[in-house]
């Protein structure tokens, strides 16, 4: 919201420096984002009167002017048409023009020139500010312009504009008037309403000429209208045009400019109709009919539907309510009778219509923020008052006000103690009462009870907490000291097991040399094809966003594979030689699609990927160690997954459940992500890990007796899996004495001289907690094991 301080002065005698005012506004909840000098860069330009004009002694196309500003100067110019008596802008030595251009005195073909004359462009003024300013030549100022003063002052361009951010609750502050109310309270000065907020003459005359039928009070809770006759349409005076232009609005004619002026000053969007376009003398506020069409002021045709509110005459829509008027129902050069509309349309209705039509205006933006019930009347008074003040027309007696359900007068009743209970500090009763009154919230005290009557323009004030905020923002947030008397029960901070172990898993992965990535939860729907998932893969069932930032961010991921492969590719493509990466994040798996009332399952997945000096076993080691660390027993079994290497992939099982997979990513999938590295990838259900992990499982005594180690060199079919050999070993031994069994070497090759076989070296460790084991009992166990291996897997000793 741009607030020119001169405009503010129409309401309050502000005598603070702009910076000081800005500081005060900030401390009261109005963030001043910028303080703008309206004149821009312009400096050192003065109004000057030409005293004499002579030909340049050495050049036909130049003249030498003697001028009077604060004293006499000489200026050489090629504007040979200038004549004595003209008043012009004179940029003296050292002047700065719009855009930062600097002017210096100098010699022009042997004659000294003390500066130069300038045109409108160099002074950032346009035709609508000063006639002639739009032309590409020296600007001749009106005859009554005072001579020898700063141009910026002479043209009243010496203004400072505050750019203020308005919070969503303070809809009333989206106008100069609303800010003025705050400034009055802040500075302790009275708010003076300008005289053109007139009382519209009362009477019934208007009813004879115009009827309002409000068929949609749910979308239009209030519709006011006033009328003027004998209207003269002409160009607006400079002060109106300048103020509109400063806000980025284009001056059109006096009546249309008034509606925009009121929008800026009161914050109430208005519309002006030519009475003769209101067929049947009736304004009907109704939902548009299906496929009803309107050509708006932007020249485009819009097709409406019953979701859109339309302002109609007896026959057809004249305006899209709160958004834009129709091209044929506006103000024309011959308009003689004007109807001003000042209405409250529901903010979400205007917002939806504006969005669905793809049509936004200053009015729709303003309505979308919300309008209070005070502004319709204030806007109408100001608009009619401006017409009357300038003699552009005569008001018709009476105002039409369709306001079926008037908002009740709200009162908030409380004590100073209630305020203290919210703030934690005690504010004197007198301060509370005085400051609320200064904010134009009429407040009285009776004994300990304070009652505030909430004015119509403060719809944000509902209860005592809102009053407390008004009090503290004026009392000052720096009045708190840092002590706390927070009472109540003693609570020990709690971290759930899932949170604790998620942190453990992350720390473990860091210990494994991995960096934690951060990837978006939404991915491209193309991911499933990139991962070559079959058409019926349940992971293709992804939640779709209705309004994504783009297709690449349009579905919620159901697995972490795509996100992680992208992160890997980022690194590989940038020629980072190696990387171990991990992330724990949620995937979203809906029961069915589209989502109706049930939220999808949100599951935490641990994803890990590595490339560089890696192979399947460096990958697997990370997870075997992780599971050991978490005390989770897991098993790895060969598996096929669409995007993984068919013979280098395992699914991971624990507690009879599949909890993830790991392996090498299929090379053509890796290529689809833009790299040709061998990439190793794992995904594990992190919820399972954190639920089943255990930190301490009870103390186990350690054996004092020495272990007995035996190595067995076995010959087996190449197809027998390591895990089956070890399972058979444990099953056969069926003894607590076998404390460890592991395969330490596997050998396949021609030296073995038996096709289809492999040599597997198994190391068995036996140990007792009670005694030193003797060879005989170990041998007995070994025999049992060998027998079982031969029987079940056809395995022999080498």
């Amino acid at each position: 919201m741009l607030v020119p301080i001169k405009w503010l002065k129409d309401f309050v005698d502000v005598d603070l420096a702009p910076e000081e005012l800005a500081d005060k506004l900030v401390s009261c909840g109005f963030e001043v984002e910028d303080i703008i000098n309206a004149a821009g860069d312009i400096q050192g330009v003065y109004t000057a009167k030409i005293l004499s004009v002579e030909k340049h002694p050495a050049a036909d196309r130049l003249i030498v002017c003697k001028i009077a500003a604060d004293k006499e100067y000489t200026v050489v110019t090629n504007n040979v048409w200038l004549k004595p008596g003209d008043i012009v802008p004179f940029a003296a030595d050292g002047a700065v023009l719009h855009g930062g251009k600097k002017i210096y005195a100098g010699e022009v073909r042997g004659v000294r020139s003390d500066g130069m004359f300038t045109g409108g462009k160099d002074l950032n003024v346009t035709e609508s500010d000063i006639r002639g300013a739009g032309e590409d030549k020296v600007l001749v100022l009106p005859d009554d312009t005072p001579v020898g003063i700063d141009f910026v002052k002479a043209m009243e361009l010496d203004d400072v504009v505050l750019d203020i951010g308005i919070t969503a609750n303070r809809t009333d502050a989206n106008g100069i008037l609303g800010i003025a109310r705050e400034v009055a309270a802040i500075t302790g000065k009275p708010l003076k309403m300008p005289e053109d907020y007139i009382d519209i003459p009362t009477g019934n005359a208007i009813n004879g000429k115009l009827e309002i039928v409000n068929e949609a009070p749910d979308l239009c809770p209030r519709y006011m209208a006033a009328m003027l006759t004998d209207v003269v349409i002409e160009e607006s005076p400079t002060y109106i045009k300048r103020r509109l232009r400063a806000a980025g609005l284009r001056p059109i004619n006096n009546i249309v400019d008034i509606t925009n002026y009121v929008l800026l000053e009161v914050g109430q969007p208005m519309h002006a109709f030519d009475l003769k376009t209101i067929k049947g003398g009736r304004i009907v506020v109704r939902r548009a009919r299906e496929d009803e069409k309107i050509v708006a002021l932007d020249g485009k045709t819009y097709t409406l539907n019953p979701e859109n509110l339309a302002i109609c005459n007896a026959e057809e829509p004249m305006a899209i309510a709160g958004v834009m008027g129709g091209a044929g129902y506006s103000i024309f050069d011959d308009t003689a009778e004007v109807v001003f509309e000042s209405a409250r349309f529901k903010r979400d209705s205007v917002r939806r219509t504006s969005r669905s039509l793809g049509l936004s205006s200053d009015s729709s933006q303003r309505f979308s923020k919300g309008i209070d019930y005070y502004s319709q009347e204030a806007g109408l008074r100001k608009a009619v008052g401006m017409v009357v003040r300038h003699g552009w027309g005569k008001p018709v007696k009476g105002v039409i006000d369709s306001y079926p359900v008037p908002a009740p007068q709200r009162r908030v009743s409380y004590t100073a103690e209630d305020i203290e209970n919210i703030l934690g500090i005690s504010v004197p009763e007198k301060f509370i009462v005085d400051v609320l009154n200064s904010l134009m919230i009429p407040t009285v005290r009776k004994g300990k009870r304070i009652t505030s009557s909430v004015p119509a323009f403060r719809e944000d004030i509902v209860g005592v907490n809102d009053i407390a905020e008004e009090v503290i923002r004026m009392y000052g947030y720096d009045s708190f000291d840092s002590s706390s008397v927070m009472q109540g029960a003693l609570i020990a901070g709690e971290v759930t097991k899932a949170q604790e172990f998620t942190a453990s898993v992350k720390n473990f992965m860091v210990g494994a040399g991995a960096y934690e990535t951060l990837t978006y939860s939404f991915i491209t729907p193309k991911a499933f094809d990139m991962l070559e998932m079959p058409a019926d893969d349940p992971l293709r069932k992804a939640v779709v966003l209705t309004n994504p930032l783009g297709e690449d961010y349009s579905v919620m991921r159901t697995s972490m594979a795509h996100s992680m492969l992208k992160a890997v590719a980022t690194n590989a493509i940038r020629l980072n030689k190696e990387a171990r990466l991990f992330e724990i994040a949620k995937v979203f798996r809906p029961e069915k699609l589209p989502l109706t009332d049930k939220l999808p399952e949100e599951k935490q997945i641990l994803v890990y990927a590595a490339y560089g000096d890696e192979d399947f076993y460096t990958l697997k080691a990370v997870f075997e160690e992780l599971f050991a660390y978490l005390r989770i027993e897991a098993e790895f079994l060969p598996a096929e997954i669409s995007y993984m290497h068919p013979t280098r992939t395992a699914k991971i099982f624990a507690g009879g459940k599949e909890i993830g997979y790991l392996g090498e990513v299929a090379d053509k999938v890796v290529k689809a992500y833009g790299t040709d590295k061998r990439v190793y990838l794992a995904e594990v259900d992190c919820d399972y890990l954190t639920e089943h992990a255990s930190r301490y499982t009870g103390f186990k005594p350690v054996s004092k007796y020495p272990p007995v180690e035996r190595d067995l060199a076995l010959i087996t079919d190449e197809s027998v899996a390591a895990t089956d050999i070890l399972k058979a070993v444990r099953l056969a031994a069926d003894s607590a004495l076998l404390t460890d069994a592991r395969i330490f070497d596997v050998f396949v090759g021609p030296q073995l001289k038996i096709a289809g076989k492999k040599s597997v070296a198994v190391r068995l460790t036996f140990r007792s907690n009670e005694r030193t084991l003797v060879d005989a009992e170990v041998n007995e166990l070994i025999d049992k094991i060998l027998k079982k291996l031969a029987e079940t897997l056809g395995i022999k000793l080498r």
């Binding site: 979400d348 947030y477 708190f480 960096y515 939860s521 980072n576 171990r580 589209p594 989502l595």
Partner: protein, 368 residues
Amino acid sequence: MSTDNLKNFFEERIRAVENSDLSQDVKNLLITRTVDVVKQMSELGNAERRDLEDFRVRHFGKSGDITAFTRLIGTAPPELKRTLGALINDIRSAFENAFTLMENDVASREYAKRIQAEKVDVTLSKNVRREGTGGLNPITIVKNDIVSIFAGMGFSVVDGPEIEYTKYNFELLNIPADHPARDPGDSFYINPEIMLRTQTSCVQARTMETTAPPIRVVCPGKVYRPDEDATHSPMFHQIEGLVVDEHVTLKDLKAVLEQFAKRFFSADTSVRFRPSFFPFTEPSVEVDLSCAMCHGAGCRLCKGTGWLELLGAGVVNPAVLDMCGIDSAKYSGFAFGIGLERAAMVKYGIPDMRLLFDNDVRILSQFR
């Protein structure tokens, strides 16, 4: 014992033998053999372990000549047996001492040789992962720091869903259906009732719905809004804090946030409230912290103001308490929300939020 000492010692023994009453034959035998072995011994010089072993076998083995001295004792006349025995023992133990010394000498020469052979260039690096040692994401680091500060003040950590009902994201937070914040330009929707949460404040509502006061929780998590530029990401992280109890006030909020700020940045950090607006708190405040870099003097990080905007907070709107089933006449509360990306950017001096989502290990490896 040095070779000279050895020689002196044996000269002494030889003189003792010469002066003894032993027969000349025995004397000659003892003297020549001893002199011979001493000579051989002195020639061993820089012997290797194998030479020493040979020497031992030759002279001290079963058929060694020094061992043979013992047999002389049996041949000697009884009255000389003691003398001869003493002399031979002397000679023998002198040899053994000398031999042990030589063995030690060999061992230490062998050790020195091995140590030389095992020399490594300690300035050389091998087997180091080129991209470093792994690390947490800065967002996780900042989250952990913040959570542990609040855990120390008695806050528990709670989680909530990221795909959320509009009820929790809006209605229960006092953001009615016609509120501008519900515009599709400001939130990602899945259908009119389900959306990606735009704020962790949803977890406030969920917590209050299921938990009776006293409540003291923080809720970290991902949130989503349709913005993307140097200071906005469509997915980002917040930590929401909520306290509900009897007699909780705005002043308590300031004290708690001051504690947080001092621990998260430094002990001289101060906190400033500026009035603001959030639908679910009333009064609402923007919380500024004195700049972590310039400590209030004004610098590039704080754009010369001396203050950093880091979080929003306020007293829980009584309407929110009531909607969530908590008696606002009895209980009050405060809530605050911290943007983790912003906190990380401030803490680490990261210029563009998008870098936090870049995932290049050259960036990730900068944080611990």
